[in-house]
Symmetry: C2
Subunit: 194 residues, 2 copies
């Protein structure tokens, strides 16, 4: 959320910068856990370098739900705001450099921001956009085949396909690793005709 504020409303950057000093820098290897499923979210996470995923455990199996990359920020929003346990684990995919801003300062920063004129409008705008994002993820399952979802991913967010191991992507698309492999080889054959 903070990430979206800063990128969409640059006039808020001054607020943000006053909190830089409270951030803790972490230089961590791949597969490092930043937040564990079932625990409360205590930090806003900003990614300077690397990438992370959020996933949950389903009968012993990882099910990846989302990917984040450089210059993106995240928190388990519901856990953070409503103080409930996180549904998801957050862990690095690549060796990464991340910054953590403790919840206490985020709350304080939000209070400050609320003094800004039109802050309500900005909140609503961003909340609506985030909501639309998740609705679209969900609609995509109703509307598209796994193959179409993969093609859209390739087109709209190619960096995911390039940097994320395939079995994470398979779970995110809702198919088995074997089937994602089949989809790829089918699409590759299609292109051979040229």
């Amino acid at each position: 959320m903070l990430f979206h504020f800063r990128t969409k409303f640059p006039q808020l950057n001054a607020y943000w910068e006053r909190y830089l000093e409270f951030q803790k820098r972490l230089d961590i290897p791949a597969k490092t856990t930043l937040l564990e499923e079932g625990k409360k979210s205590l930090n806003y996470i900003f990614i300077e370098r690397g990438c992370v995923r959020s996933f949950f455990n389903n009968n012993g199996e990882d099910k990846t739900v989302q990917f984040f990359f450089e210059n993106e920020g995240l928190a388990s929003f519901d856990s953070f705001v409503n103080d409930v346990p996180s549904q998801f684990t957050i862990e690095t995919i690549e060796p990464s450099i991340v910054y953590l801003l403790p919840k206490k300062y985020v709350t304080q920063l939000m209070e400050e921001l609320s003094a800004e004129p039109d802050f309500l409008k900005m909140i609503l705008q961003i909340a609506a956009q985030r909501q639309t994002h998740y609705i679209n993820e969900f609609v995509s399952f109703i509307r598209d085949t796994p193959e179409q979802r993969y093609e859209k991913l390739l087109k709209d967010r190619p960096h995911i396909v390039q940097r994320v191991p395939q079995h994470y992507i398979a779970a995110y698309l809702g198919v088995s690793t074997v089937h994602l492999s089949r989809i790829k080889s089918k699409l590759a054959k299609g292109k051979d005709h040229f």
Copy 2:
């Protein structure tokens, strides 16, 4: 959103009531369109009696994404807030009585509400909960089979199964009508063992 405010924060009811007079009451038959895909959302809709669905058109086929019932309010949130065309059509399933509150008054009401202490917290709470709802819809496709999704629907929101025609539910679950019929008959057989 307004609906959630009122039910979760009853101290805001007084604000709401001042706007009752601006609502237009509609007594309409089934299959009446309240908002058309591609047009901008102009009203907040409150359902007194009946039920409605939101859906989109995909190559000539209806794809239902959500259902709403008595005492629920809705608007195409993104369309409403960000003033973009709605992705979805909203139409009645049963003969219904609904109230429409024009956007102008909603905006005004939100402005008023923002004077209320802790309004920011309320907004964030509700936005987080709505977001969680849609994330869960999406996660359900990653985690569950269509059969499991149907069973959860039956358990968590049985009124949907009771009142909504099956082909709308099939689309919502992401399966063909034929397959939903198979799922139902399979589950019925399972229960015969008692």
